[in-house]
């Protein structure tokens, strides 16, 4: 069996000054943000806030300066990330681009794409969305049917795209989409023949329709492509290597603080509701959750340290994600038994509103970025069992 090492995370002493700075900033920025909005975690969208984060240099922190980045360490980025998430700051306007699309372009984009787009992301002025799932492809990405066909040079070149993407978060507010689609072969080729394309969402032929989630909120969208023509250089990386590129993105993003802080607002409100002298029962429950949080954070920071050293901790990252989702989902189930309050989005009590939000969103915590069952299959493979 391969040994699954989690080396000690890098010392955080060096980043404490940055942490204090971020906390100060957030304290002012979020002074009026009620817990029920903080509970939205990374789904909170505030373009102005994102611009101010950009102005502070807290987006694109690790990227090269020539593309608007700040060449700071992954650990410094980690500190900014965990502080903003723990505080329930509205990061959605810059978060996807900072976390996923920007790094993809940095690694695989054209020089033109890097030069024009990355600085705008860094400034907090450019929102991305990710076009992955389709009506008949959930966790099974190889089943995508959206297709990009090369347009003959004679007809102007580029790609003609047709298909439908589902569950595209914030497509209705984004400027760009990273589109995962088929350029060659068919579903029988499984992962082969898939590619990633950069899509300017103002391109003609794109229709974005809201998909309301179970609480009636609008985060998701259906994005329909009807004979959408993209330029030739819309291709990111290599034709036919879409799957490989996506997998390497996903593996690295399984273990960040976003994987265990989704219910943080509720945990905080729980502590508030219980007050300074909780019953033994309540103190034990909160103490236990706090212990789990401390350990999860250590695991996550350990993976961050490995990533910073250029290692490939795919298995470790999967373990953190699995543990993190369990923790996030456990919090509402525990909190609701400790405080007498029914979940109620519109309640005058913040605890009730935060509880309602968290109860209704918790099921997604073990779906997004691959279901729990798939994740555990990946872990089993890492243990040498498949």
């Amino acid at each position: 069996m391969p040994r699954i090492a989690f080396p000690p995370p890098p010392s955080s002493a060096a980043t404490e000054a940055l942490r204090a700075e971020v906390r100060d900033f957030l304290k002012t920025e979020l002074a009026d943000r009620p817990p029920r909005l903080r509970a939205e975690s990374w789904n909170g969208f505030d373009a102005a806030f994102s611009r101010r984060m950009g102005a502070r240099g807290w987006i694109a922190m690790t990227w090269p300066k020539q593309y608007g980045g700040h060449e700071r360490s992954a650990l410094e980025r980690y500190v900014v990330l965990e502080e903003t998430l723990a505080a329930g700051a509205p990061v959605a306007a810059h978060w996807i681009a900072d976390r996923q699309s920007g790094p993809l372009l940095l690694k695989n984009g054209t020089e033109e794409q890097r030069r024009t787009i990355l600085p705008r992301i860094a400034a907090g002025e450019c929102t991305f969305c990710i076009g992955m799932s389709e009506p008949d492809s959930g966790s099974d990405l190889a089943a995508v049917r959206t297709r990009a066909v090369p347009v003959p040079e004679a007809e102007g070149g580029g790609w003609r795209v047709n298909g439908t993407k589902l569950w595209t978060t914030y497509a209705h507010k984004a400027q760009y989409m990273i589109l995962f689609c088929r350029t060659d072969g068919g579903t029988e080729d499984r992962q082969g023949g898939t590619s990633q394309l950069l899509v300017d969402l103002t391109t003609p032929g794109i229709t974005i329709r809201p998909i309301l989630d179970l609480s009636g909120a609008h985060h998701f969208n259906e994005v329909v492509f009807e004979d959408v023509v993209l330029p030739a250089d819309a291709l990111i990386g290599n034709r036919g290597e879409g799957w490989t590129q996506v997998m390497s993105e996903l593996a690295y993003e399984r273990s960040g603080p976003e994987r265990f802080l989704s219910s943080m607002a509720l945990l905080i409100e729980l502590v508030r509701a219980l007050g300074p002298s909780p019953s033994g029962h309540a103190a034990i429950a909160v103490g236990r959750l706090t212990a789990h949080l401390i350990v999860l954070r250590r695991l996550s920071r350990s993976v961050a340290g490995m990533l910073d050293k250029g290692e490939n901790p795919t298995l470790q990252a999967s373990l953190v994600k699995d543990l993190g989702a369990l923790f996030e989902q456990e919090i509402p189930e525990i909190a609701r038994q400790l405080v007498e309050a029914e979940p109620d989005l519109e309640s005058t009590r913040e605890f009730s509103a935060v509880l309602a939000h968290t109860v209704m969103n918790a099921p997604a915590f073990s779906l997004r970025g691959g279901t729990r069952e798939i994740l555990r299959g990946i872990i089993a493979r890492g243990l040498g069992l498949r």
Partner: protein
């Protein structure tokens, strides 16, 4: 009316009326007046009322089964509440108004409501919290504890002002601010032995039944989905990991169903004496626990599909998340049982279980 004909007819009515479109409309705050009228037309709200008080002579277990059935359709109408209010009014010898009726889902009415003499009339003041569908209620039946015993008060629109609220399933849960002068005809002693704690336990029974119904339906939907949805070239249901989860779902449905049945029996066998509360407490707790697990597994199996507003699943799961907290959550009832066990002592535990 014969038992299974009643059940079948009601189920057909629910299936016909409580369509996904209607559920969505109700979710956005619309009162399904026509559907309610059809339910009322069938006489279902009077199912718990004895024949001599204007009911149809429905067996109590059959009456309670209607609530379970309505739960399985996520019926967005106060059928259970109206049944309960009608029963309460009938027990007090009062006439039962037509239309959806309200009750207050609180264990103790003390503190929130004050009933005082006002000449030949009475004056009732106070607040009733989270009254289901208070906004459309044609009347509200409240049980108020007095020195002399429990008293039923019949309130009519105008006796209260409404502050609208909702549970997370979108069902109205309104706060009624009450300041009413009630003539003698609208105030009467409750049937012997009926206390607010009793009414609370009855409410818990109705919610347990509704949860059992909803859980069974969620299981059905999830098994069906797993059989149809293809991933990685096979139906989901062919994956062992999915099968193991669905087996857990089935066991939760079984437990919730049996627990709710036990509560229904306790309620049905009552005749004047005190309620057997233990099976009811066990049911509300067990159904509440099953509700959470069921919702979680069903959403896990449905993936993103189950999260869309268009899908029927969330009408059921959001009700499960709401109902498990109404009329006492798991902790409330567990504490009640735990205290009873402590009193019975170690050697009294098993006799207490076999008597439940």
């Amino acid at each position: 009316m014969s038992d299974s004909i009643l059940a079948d007819t009601a189920q057909r009515l629910f299936a016909e009326r409580f369509t996904p479109e209607l559920l969505r409309a109700a979710d956005s705050g619309q009162w399904p007046a026509a559907a309610w009228a059809a339910v009322e037309e069938m006489g279902l709200p009077l199912a718990l009322v004895p024949e001599e008080a204007g009911g149809f002579g429905v067996d109590t277990l059959d009456a309670l089964a209607l609530v379970r059935s309505a739960g399985s359709f996520a019926a967005p109408v106060p059928l259970a509440e109206t049944m309960l209010a009608a029963w309460l009014l009938a027990g007090a010898g009062m006439a039962i108004p037509a239309g959806p009726l309200g009750i207050a889902p609180t264990q103790s009415a003390k503190g929130d409501l004050a009933l005082t003499r006002d000449g030949a009339s009475w004056r009732l003041t106070g607040t009733a919290h989270r009254v289901p569908w208070g906004r459309v209620a044609t009347a509200v039946a409240l049980l108020v504890e007095q020195e002399s015993g429990s008293v039923v008060c019949l309130l009519e629109p105008g006796d209260w002002t409404v502050e609208e609220g909702r549970n997370i399933a979108g069902e109205p849960r309104d706060t009624l601010r009450i300041d009413a002068v009630l003539d003698a005809a609208r105030v009467a002693p409750a049937a012997p032995g009926v206390t607010p704690a009793d009414l609370f336990a009855m409410g818990a029974t109705l919610r347990s039944l509704a949860m059992a119904g909803a859980i069974e339906r969620v299981l059905e939907l999830t098994v069906q989905y797993a059989g149809e949805r293809v991933q990685f070239g096979r139906p989901l249901g062919k994956f062992q990991a999915v099968q193991q989860n669905l087996a857990i779902l089935a066991s939760q449905a079984a437990a919730a169903g049996a627990a709710a049945d036990g509560a229904a029996e306790a309620l049905a066998e009552r005749s004047g004496g005190p309620l057997r509360v233990l099976p009811i407490a066990a049911a509300k707790l067990r159904c509440g626990e099953a509700a959470g697990l069921t919702a979680s597994i069903a959403h896990q199996m449905h993936g993103a599909i189950g999260f869309t507003h268009e899908h029927v699943l969330h009408h059921l799961t959001r009700r499960l998340w709401s109902w498990r907290d109404e009329f006492g959550n798991e902790s409330v009832w567990a504490l009640r049982i735990g205290r009873e066990v402590a009193e019975a002592g170690a050697d009294g535990l098993w006799p207490l279980v076999t008597a439940a």
